[in-house]
């Protein structure tokens, strides 16, 4: 079928860098990067039994979501698509020390590596908010004892663009940590640990200690 209408020029000329996980392209997505309507992140990590081994952060356990019935553990399983629905607070202990609330759905898929001894491909997809809309994402902190909300800041991703979101996270964590009263639960009085961002290079001593703790 269609053999008579195939193009006779090189496929690369029309498709460009068509495979996001080839050896060259995958490095460009090691953080998050726009790919058309989507934001894509691809990490090469060893994965075993739902635990991801990060070369810098060490063993990262399963993600946690805060749903209507409380905390839910969301394990990554190879070749299974997992979704965090838009609006659901979620975090990965020891990876980022705040609750991320994205208006957009986040989808997670782990593809096996070429061999059992080589890292898997941990993919994260989410649609970039429609620039004509109002969607965004928030940083929040909840009391670790009673889940009362302590702090929340919102970023207008649709309007401001995804590129500014990491600075927003940095600023929000600095703001949260700089005011000790933010960490004291108004309901139960528990003093919560410091928050921290994704990037351990920017940890203060307090943030590095908190990363070990929660």
């Amino acid at each position: 079928m269609f053999t008579d209408v195939y193009v006779d020029q090189s496929v690369e000329k029309l498709l460009g860098d068509w495979d996001l996980i080839d050896d060259v392209m995958v490095k460009k997505f090691s953080r998050f990067k726009r790919a058309g309507h989507n934001i894509v992140g691809i990490r090469r990590r060893m994965c075993e039994g739902g635990v991801v081994l990060d070369p810098v952060k060490g063993e990262l356990p399963a993600a946690i979501e805060l749903g209507p019935n409380g905390l839910v553990t969301m394990e990554n399983t190879v070749l299974s698509l997992r979704m965090t629905c838009g609006g659901t607070p979620h975090r990965v202990p020891h990876n980022f020390g705040f609750w991320h609330i994205n208006d957009m759905d986040e989808l997670y898929l782990t593809l096996p590596g070429p061999t059992a001894e080589t890292p898997a491909y941990c993919l994260i997809f989410m649609q970039h908010p429609d620039p004509t809309g109002r969607a965004g994402e928030s940083v929040a902190e909840y009391c670790e004892q009673c889940l009362t909300i302590l702090y929340e800041r919102h970023y207008r991703t649709a309007e401001l663009g995804f590129e500014g979101v990491f600075k927003f996270f940095d600023d929000a964590m600095r703001d949260y940590n700089n005011e000790p009263r933010n960490r004291v639960c108004p309901e139960c009085g528990h003093v919560n640990p410091f928050g921290y961002t994704w990037n351990p290079d920017r940890d203060t001593p307090e943030m590095a200690a908190a990363r070990q703790q929660w």
């Binding site: 209408v5 195939y6 193009v7 496929v11 996001l20 996980i21 309507h37 898929l109 593809l111 096996p112």
Partner: protein
Amino acid sequence: MPVLDDGAPMAEAGPNGQWKKAGENYVWSRCVPPGGPELDLFERFDEGVVRVPVVERAVHVIPTGRPYRLAHVYGFWRMTGADTMYVRSPAPGGAAYMLLTGTSYDTYTEDRVFWACPKCGRELSGVAIPKRMGLGGLLAQTAKAVRVFNADAAARTCPGCGTLHPPAYAMEPEADDEIEAAGRLAW
């Protein structure tokens, strides 16, 4: 298995594949056992049709507005107002495939399902399916359009070069009639 609310692992998606609506996304996945057909991805440009290279594992973005089809899965060209992610991976049960289309963009107002002459590329027939009909509407309306196309030899005959288009098939193999099943095997 904590997947898409009620379980849809790629490797267990089965030989017929499965469609799901997950949040604001349409997701299709299928696992083809060893020795099964390669589900070639084709994309349609002004210059002609491109067969996306087959590699063991790939993640590829089919951009908004570019017609595409997966052999043995889509017996038609589909054009969507949103990007679609295509994933292929080795899996314990063979090769796993996934298509993932986010539906939240305002640019996504409809799907266009159409047929083009396999010899000269001329467009033959097609329908537009509004996004508001949802995934169920997309599946049903595509199946309806396929039946209409297959039943109309004139619509399947290229007015330019006279080539007869082979029978089309829709998105759910379990609903194929004999003609559609034969088309699905063939192309």
